[in-house]
Symmetry: C2
Subunit: 136 residues, 2 copies
């Protein structure tokens, strides 16, 4: 890796992280990560520490998943992505994935924390507000 790529900004690094994940190009994927990257899944209270383990977690993750970017918001040292994931056949239900990244001083990904919200029905406790909303 050259000095030029090391100083690329974190937004570009995160875009490359997702593009290489979608391409299953695990060497290029690993190049976006700090050696001591920490990945956190707050919903399951799981944490993975270190580049090698984190690459393996992604490489061996089950199912034929595909992603497309919905939104990216970036500032120096921090990036958030909102993606839509689909699994298997075309037209399958998509899931949203919300991922918070921080970078290290080299511009590599130092931490990633992501969330996988599931569909649910509007709770009965706010039935009195139903007239305010439309379903889509």
């Amino acid at each position: 890796m050259t000095d030029t790529t090391r100083t690329t900004d974190l937004r570009e690094t995160v875009e490359r992280f997702w593009a290489t994940a979608e391409a299953r190009d695990w060497d290029a994927f690993a190049d976006t990560l700090a050696d001591d990257v920490v990945y956190t899944l707050p919903q399951t209270r799981e944490r993975i520490s270190g580049k090698e383990r984190f690459v393996r977690f992604n490489r061996e993750y089950p199912s034929d998943w595909h992603l497309r970017m919905e939104r990216v918001v970036a500032e120096p040292g921090q990036v958030v992505t909102w993606l839509r994931f689909s699994v298997g056949f075309e037209g399958a239900e998509e899931m949203h994935a919300l991922s918070f990244f921080t970078g290290d001083e080299k511009g590599n990904i130092a931490t990633m924390t992501d969330f996988w919200p599931e569909p649910y029905e509007p709770p009965a406790s706010r039935n009195h507000l139903r007239e305010l909303t439309e379903r889509y």
Copy 2:
């Protein structure tokens, strides 16, 4: 509202949005919003259009909720917040809330889309990766 507050950047507006929500200061809360603000809840496929309805939705939302900011990421015209919400008594379980904002040309909130991910157990389909993760 003065011209000065109209040109404040969106990060500050979003921070004011959450501070006034927590304070139940609904007039100041309304001042952060575009008249035609659109609020979207992808998990329930609900949408609320217009400042008046959206203020009422928040003002009349059930339970004694409280929020604290975990992270803000902002760029011109776009902001993301990651909050922790708690309901009722101190020490109650917290929920994560992830909110994506866009602003209009006056610096008011034009759209807000948010996600409320729930806790779940690691799926059995990735049991073979369990050795990579620690629970916390």
